[in-house]
């Protein structure tokens, strides 16, 4: 050990610490090698990632995958399932795709399709859909939500529409009915508000002032007015319009007239504000139903769901979906398709919808028994087939465009810009974003 200055006393300890370091590395390397599951016997191993890792989600999807594995054992296909929390799904997915070790099949919000497709990370499913009889059974809106430039990329598993929920008792008490138009809704909302000093005991509604939620709810108003964010061919912004200004004024009206607090009315932990009677109506997805049942079961009987009132040009609601995508770099695409189509068959969609209260994505599941057992759920499902729906545009820069829309509408709500300035600004920024290389 010529490296060390000390020889007499030092060597013993030096050896000891070198040894201990070596042991640490050995452990590391051994565990690294030991954990490899060697499957070299011609078996096809698939990995599938499911978004969400609550107990119920795990149980339901595990059972489906177990079924699949049982049925495909003879073909040598085996699927391994993993559950990823929604909040970090994006980061984990993009990191693993970048590392070339992504899952063969993964679940994600359909709106991400354009981004993934632009990076050649997901496989178009058109060829598979051509030979698939079940294709026509799917609600076209949900399939559309995950299609980019005419190519389908997603097998939907969960629908995400927003409808209007309201408390019939609060409406009755106020002596009003659900009006025909959005403008009327704004006018009657005064009747619901109860305040204690500056604190709202009850607000008319709960409107988000930031993020995805703002865009999703506000866009529905924009569309109902006949406006849009992008032009039809997605090549430029179309947001600088009278319709958009009207939509902002309507939205902003609830805050300006003190019908709802800008900080929102949904703040009591996981309780739904409709359940607690803190608001008279909301624009929400199907998840609201279970929230009301779990935390405020007594309120359930007073809650109704209906189509949102008309804008200047009828009623359009947001249609979104999440579903399964196929990794474009998967080594086992045929097996991956088998898995995807297995999950998409009637029994499994029904299983998922009934156990997890996912909005059914297949038309032939919409009137199943379990749907009818839950009054609100049944009404909601029926509305999704009746009310005009529209998906967010699937363009690669969508997240950036969405952020621009949100930022400008938000500025208008907070009074930093007039609605006119906001849409003008948004138009300019969106065009810059589209034209940037």
């Amino acid at each position: 050990m010529p490296l060390f200055a000390g020889k007499s006393k030092g060597d013993g300890t030096v050896k000891k610490w070198i040894a201990s370091l070596l042991i640490i590395f050995m452990i590391a390397v051994v565990t690294a090698c030991g954990d490899q599951n060697s499957s070299g016997d011609g078996e096809t191993e698939l990995t599938i990632w499911v978004a969400g890792n609550s107990n119920q989600i795990q149980d339901t999807f595990r059972a489906i995958i177990d079924d699949f594995n049982e049925q495909h054992e003879s073909e040598g296909i085996k699927a391994n399932i993993q559950f990823e929390p929604w909040g970090e799904l994006d980061q984990k997915l993009s990191t693993s795709l970048a590392g070339g070790v992504g899952p063969d099949v993964f679940m994600h919000g359909a709106a991400a399709a354009a981004g993934f497709a632009a990076g050649n990370q997901i496989e178009p499913l058109n060829a598979y859909f051509d030979d698939w009889a079940d294709f026509s059974e799917f609600n076209p809106g949900y399939l559309e939500a995950g299609s980019v430039e005419g190519d389908y990329y997603v097998i939907p598993i969960q629908g995400a529409n927003r409808m209007m929920f309201y408390r019939e008792d609060i409406f009755r008490e106020a002596g009003v009915e659900v009006p025909e138009t959005l403008d009327e809704l704004l006018e009657i909302s005064e009747a619901f508000v109860e305040k204690d000093g500056s604190r709202f005991v009850r607000a008319a509604t709960n409107l988000p002032t930031e993020g995805n939620d703002l865009q999703q709810i506000w866009s529905a108003f924009l569309w109902s007015n006949g406006g849009d964010i992008l032009s039809e061919d997605y090549t430029e912004a179309a947001i600088n319009s009278e319709e958009a200004i009207k939509a902002i004024e309507f939205y902003k009206g609830f805050f300006d007239r003190e019908l709802t607090p800008i900080a929102g009315m949904g703040g009591q932990g996981d309780q739904h504000p409709l359940g607690t009677g803190e608001v008279a109506f909301t624009f929400d997805g199907v998840w609201a139903i279970e929230q009301i049942q779990t935390y405020t079961p007594d309120a359930y009987e007073h809650v109704r769901v209906t189509a949102p009132p008309r804008g200047l040009d009828g009623t359009t609601t947001l249609v979104g979906s999440s579903g399964f995508f196929m990794n474009a770099n998967s080594d086992h695409k045929d097996a991956a398709w088998k898995l995807m189509s297995f999950i998409g068959d009637k029994d499994n969609i029904e299983k998922v919808a009934s156990e997890l209260k996912f909005l059914p994505v297949r038309l032939d599941v919409a009137d199943a028994d379990f749907v009818q057992e839950d009054r609100l759920f049944a009404e909601f499902v029926e509305l999704t087939t009746k009310v005009n729906g529209k998906a967010n545009p699937n363009v690669p820069r969508w997240t950036a465009i969405r952020d621009i829309v949100v930022a400008n509408v938000e500025k208008a709500i907070y009074g930093q810009l007039t609605p006119e300035e906001a849409v003008e600004n948004a138009e300019k920024e969106i065009n810059e974003e589209i034209n940037r290389n």
């Binding site: 000390g6 590391a28 993993q82 980061q91 929230q291 999440s322």
Partner: protein
């Protein structure tokens, strides 16, 4: 008389300090107390206004359902194992390295130290993908050749341990504490013919026990609290840490199951508080002081 007066004065000062510290303790502990209280409230009473401090009805349902929500025994073992290995090996590594940076003179020392320091200043978000690629392509592990081919360290304990054996902040901490030791100690040992490693190991290292205890507590609690890196590199549920268990209460993209989350957070936090209480006696190790 004079003496008594002073003692009374001292007692009053102590009382004031005690009151002050209690007030601060309430502020610091409040969110935790709130969490505890909430974890015992039934769903329907969880969010009343005005808030109730003592629940009207105490239920243990949340603890039961939280415990059933994830394989907690396994998660606890994983976290304890990973945090334990990292804590003790990084204590040694950081002390050794910090000592060299503080007390041994060699060309490039400050440059090398500054490099180490600077690496902490880059946000992890942009290092994530490069680091991930290194872990996935790590030579000769997980079916890899010299570079890539398999999955490397991915989905192994090594992925959790090896990249995090060294904490620049630990080196930095140890260096700062070694800097405060008097040089005379070192010189005396050197005259006695102690080897450089001997000086470090037998003379200097024992003198910075408060810093070592600090590092142990920090590294342990950082590892216990960590969930982002394990989330990224671990796919197998059998290797997941406790913090990922806390994720299972997100019931949908929009909703979270509060009660069980609060309940689980209580037991997930407990082990670090215990480690802290245990390590505390070493904080106060050197000159057990009187009052000032």
């Amino acid at each position: 008389m004079y003496r008594n007066n002073r003692e009374v004065k001292r007692l009053i000062t102590s009382l004031w300090i005690f009151l002050l510290m209690s007030a601060i303790a309430i502020i610091m502990l409040w969110p935790f107390i709130w969490m505890l209280v909430t974890s015992f409230k039934p769903n329907t009473e969880m969010f009343t206004y005005p808030p109730t401090i003592i629940p009207n009805e105490i239920v243990f349902d949340h603890y039961v359902s939280a415990w059933n929500a994830a394989p907690w025994e396994r998660f606890f073992f994983n976290t304890a194992f990973v945090a334990g290995v990292i804590t003790f090996s990084s204590l040694f590594l950081c002390a050794l390295t910090g000592y060299a940076f503080a007390r041994l003179e060699f060309p490039g020392r400050n440059f090398l130290f500054l490099l180490l320091l600077a690496s902490m200043m880059i946000p992890f978000e942009v290092m994530l993908i490069p680091l991930y690629l290194i872990v996935v392509n790590f030579p000769f592990t997980g079916g890899n050749g010299l570079w890539g081919g398999g999955t490397g360290l991915l989905n192994t304990y090594s992925a959790l341990i090896v990249p995090r054996l060294l904490f620049p902040f630990g080196v930095f901490l140890m260096r700062q504490f070694f800097l405060t030791l008097p040089k005379s100690l070192e010189d005396a040992a050197r005259i006695d013919g102690c080897s450089e490693f001997g000086i470090f190991w037998r003379v200097m290292f024992p003198l910075i026990k408060p810093a070592s205890a600090t590092l142990v507590v920090f590294v342990f609690s950082m590892m216990w609290d960590d969930f982002f890196w394990p989330l990224i590199v671990i796919n197998d549920q059998n290797l997941m840490p406790v913090q990922l268990g806390l994720q299972s209460f997100q019931t949908s993209q929009y909703t979270t199951d509060w009660g069980p989350l609060m309940a689980a957070t209580v037991w997930v936090s407990l082990p670090i508080i215990i480690v802290f209480l245990f390590a505390q006696k070493y904080f106060m190790n050197i000159n057990v002081s009187s009052d000032k």
